[in-house]
C-alpha cells in the first residue's frame, strides 16, 4: 500500500467485533512528505491521514479499497509527527451491495485529529 511503512507504521491492531478495529500507528517523522509540507514546519497532510484511514480499512477487510465518495471528513486538530508521534486509527467498515461504508477517526489520549465518513469500492 502507498503509505504503509513510509508515512505510518502499524504497531498493533485490535479487533473490536465484526468489521471494526483500532490500529495503533506510529507517524513516521522521516517520511519525505515533510520536505514539502511544509519546509521547516512538518505538518501531517490531511489527505495522507485520509489515505491512512483507507489503508487501515483495507487491512481490516483484506481487500484494497478505493474511496468513491466522502460524505464528510472533518479535521479537528493539526497533526504532526511531533504533536502526535503515535495515534489510534479507529475504523468501521460495512459492506452494502458491493460497496463499503467507512466510518473512522484518528485520535490519541489528548485529542481527536479527524473524523471520516465515506464510501469505498
Amino acid at each position: 500500500m502507498l503509505l504503509e511503512n513510509k508515512y505510518y507504521k502499524v504497531l498493533r491492531a485490535r479487533e473490536e467485533g465484526e468489521g471494526k478495529a483500532v490500529y495503533h500507528i506510529a507517524i513516521l517523522p522521516d517520511c519525505n512528505v515533510y520536505n514539502g509540507h511544509f519546509p521547516g514546519n512538518p505538518v501531517c497532510p490531511g489527505v495522507c491521514n485520509i489515505q491512512t484511514i483507507k489503508e487501515c480499512a483495507s487491512l481490516l477487510i483484506g481487500k484494497e479499497l478505493r474511496i468513491s465518495s466522502i460524505k464528510q471528513c472533518l479535521f479537528t486538530a493539526i497533526a504532526s509527527p511531533t504533536v502526535c508521534p503515535e495515534v489510534d486509527v479507529e475504523v468501521e467498515v460495512k459492506e452494502a451491495g458491493g460497496s463499503y461504508t467507512i466510518v473512522a477517526s484518528i485520535s490519541d489520549e489528548k485529542r481527536q485529529y479527524m473524523t471520516f465518513k465515506g464510501e469505498g469500492v
Binding site: 502507498l2 520536505n35 519546509p39 490531511g46 483507507k54 468513491s68 465518495s69 464528510q72 471528513c73 465515506g118
Partner: protein, 138 residues
Amino acid sequence: MTDIKNLIPQRSPIMMVDELLEAHDDVARCSLTIREDNFFLESDGTIAEPGVIEHIAQSASAFAGYDAMQSGATEPPVGFIGEVKRFRLFRRPLKGETLVTTITMGPTVGGVTIISGETVSDNETIATTQMKIYVAGE
C-alpha cells in the same frame, strides 16, 4: 500566470498544482499534469484518491495566494483543510493526464473559507467536492 511557488507554500514531493491558469472574481482554474514522480502515484499508474483531494485543496490555496499577492503579500499563505464534504470521485486519474480544476470561492467567516471544486480531464469530470479551508494565523 505566476511561478506557482509564489502562490502555494507546499514544495516537492507534495506539489499538486503546476499552474494557476486564470483567476477573476470568485473563480479560478488550476492545472496539474500527473508525472512519474507524483507522491500519490500507485503501481497501477493511477493516483490514489486523496491525491485528487490535495490537488483541489492546493488549487484553492493557489487562488488564495494569488489574491494575497494582489494585496501585497510576499509569502504565500499557509492554508489547512478543515473539512471535505460531498467529495465524489468518478475515476482515478492516470499518469500523463492533465487535470484542470475550477475553484469557486464562497464566503469567508472567521478565517474559514468555503470552496467548491470540480476537476476535469479533457472535459470529463473526474471529481467534485466542497471544502472548508482556513488560513493559519487568521
